[in-house]
């Protein structure tokens, strides 16, 4: 086995936490049960990794096998990457999309290889007729850098592709082109949507986040929302603004629904607007040029946080549509200008 491949194996296996080692190796399914049994998984990580690399050498593992292991690791740790969303479109009146996965894969690889000789492309099929693609970029004269790969997740016969933000931005147009042509689309556009949570991004663009429907078959009736008041609460305590609290609850429920919100970490608003004020005068009101500023909301779970703002009394209900439109519009990057 090549020195570089061997090193690549070592560094990839080293990344895997000990608690997940067995699961990931089994998913990889490259080393047999017998081989795995010969390894002592309780030893120091360094020596464990050495043993495993030796086994890979025994099995004559190739670069592609290592790339596959890297894909599996990334699938288990997808939150470690930040994902962008691309939207593709077809021309009008196109024939039925007869998507052939093998054709797609070979076409995608061919397009990249034709443009860039030094590139490693690997595929792994995933559930729901999706494919994970790993691309290690090289240059005209340099071998592909296996330690900074780009990932693309594509669900067949959909117009959306999810890509991990590649450090090498110059290759993005080529990637877009390969995707578009291989999936038989005409155009590709980057959406203003980005997050670490790939599954939430999928839920947003596939419109799968609100999946509660009223039917005659459901046994649970529409529940009366309680104000979070304890039934055992002292009867001497009265809520002064009960009607207002109920209104806020109702409005929040109408906007955010009863379903768990998709997970995003931030929303960013780039403002280029003139200053608006109720008061007459003031230095800023006279300013002709628009103000430029960036407002960023960050949270471990942004939409749930926004949902809890009004009931907690921190903001008025209803919230600004700029905040509530995020899942509907599939955007968390906004540019706001004066009309």
């Amino acid at each position: 086995m090549d020195e570089t491949v061997s090193e690549f194996f070592r560094r990839t296996i080293l990344k895997i936490p000990l608690t997940e080692m067995m699961t990931i190796l089994k998913t990889w399914n490259f080393l047999s049960e017998n081989q795995l049994q010969t390894v002592n998984f309780r030893q120091r990580k360094e020596s464990l990794v050495q043993d495993l690399v030796l086994l890979c050498e025994e099995n004559r593992a190739s670069l592609n096998d290592a790339a596959l292991l890297d894909i599996i690791y990334t699938q288990f740790h997808r939150h470690q990457k930040v994902w962008d969303v691309f939207q593709m479109s077809k021309g009008p009146g196109e024939d039925t999309d007869l998507f052939d996965m093998e054709q797609f894969k070979s076409s995608f690889k061919k397009i990249l290889k034709r443009a860039l000789k030094n590139v490693t492309v690997s595929f792994r099929d995933a559930e729901e007729n999706a494919v994970w693609i790993r691309i290690a970029w090289g240059t005209q004269y340099g071998k592909p850098n296996q330690y900074k790969p780009a990932y693309v997740v594509y669900y067949s016969q959909t117009p959306y592709a999810f890509t991990s933000s590649s450090q090498l931005k110059s290759n993005l147009p080529l990637l877009g082109q390969a995707l578009t042509i291989a999936s038989k689309h005409h155009q590709i556009v980057k959406m203003d949507l980005r997050s670490r949570y790939l599954d939430s991004l999928k839920a947003i663009v596939f419109k799968q986040y609100n999946q509660t429907f009223e039917t005659h078959n459901s046994t649970t009736p529409l529940q009366e929302r309680s104000l979070g008041l304890d039934i055992n609460m002292d009867s001497r305590i009265i809520h002064e603004n009960k009607t207002e609290k109920e209104r806020v609850q109702r409005v929040t429920q109408e906007i955010f629904g009863d379903y768990p919100q998709p997970r995003l970490e931030f929303a960013q608003y780039k403002l280029e607007t003139k200053f608006k004020s109720d008061l007459n005068g003031g230095i800023l009101a006279e300013r002709e040029e628009p103000l430029r500023c960036l407002v960023k909301f960050s949270s471990p779970h942004l939409l749930e946080a926004l949902k809890s703002l009004a009931p907690a009394g921190i903001a008025d209900a209803p919230l600004s549509p700029l905040l509530t439109c995020i899942p509907n519009k599939g955007m968390n990057y906004f540019k706001i200008r004066d009309k």
Binding site: T96, D97, L98, F99, D100, K207, Q211, F213, E214, H216
Partner: protein, 300 residues
Amino acid sequence: MELANTLSQDGESRGGVLAHLERLETQVSRSRKKMEEPQSAQAEESALGTRIHELRRLRDKLRAEVKQHQASVKASTTNVEPDQTLEITEQESLKRKRENVKAILQAYRFTGISGKLTSRGVCVCISTAFEGNLLDSYFVDLVMRKPLQIHHHSIPVFIPLEEISAKYLQTNIQHFLFTLCEYLNAYSGRKYQADRLQSDFEAFLAGPLQRNSLCNLLSFTYKAEPEGQFFPFCARLLYKDLTTTLPTDVTVTYQGTDALSTTQEEQRAAHEDLFFTKPLHQVFTSFARKGDKLDMSLVS
């Protein structure tokens, strides 16, 4: 007696006067009995008849008594609380009616399209089925506004919902729902066939079944007999019409390195026909059945 014994050997005419008298005596006694029988029978009959009359009289008397008793009980209960008993029975009948209507509404999903009114419009449920098997249900929540809007839905992203709603949602909602129903039922049917092939006939396939989200392109390498290690055929099924569950294009190719014999060519052509006309899993069911029979060639 001795006289009778010695004389009987000569026949009846000889029996003598005594024997003759004996015979006459028995005859008379028999006929007398016969005459007495109807008389006794008659006596019995009349006795039974009177008994029957008596019993009937007793029965009528008792019946009358029971009726009287019932009437008096009814009169007493109606005097006490007439309204409550009526109410209870009304309540019960209403409850039963309500349960009945609920059950009918729940059962409506078996018609394929059903719905429930919501605070903002209606939530339509499209229940798909194939070959009598109830499959997945899909929902479209509509907001009754001008223009009609889809609030949220559970239609898979690869079904051309935007296209269909652009064409029909505002102008002809019935057509919108029926078209959507067509697409979803066809998709469910194709998916069902592909899933059945993958799970039930794994032994007949070499390697996994190649498919896509819409299940409108299926590709697999297979054999038509349960035994044997050689998978001679490669099939490629295209479903260009998204509203059908049978393929529009079928290509079966022979995989072997040796030349194609006439029987194999016949098989190949026959398989192509089968895939065109029968659902996928049924074709493989027939392959499996052929393996059980000995002389299939003679039958076909």
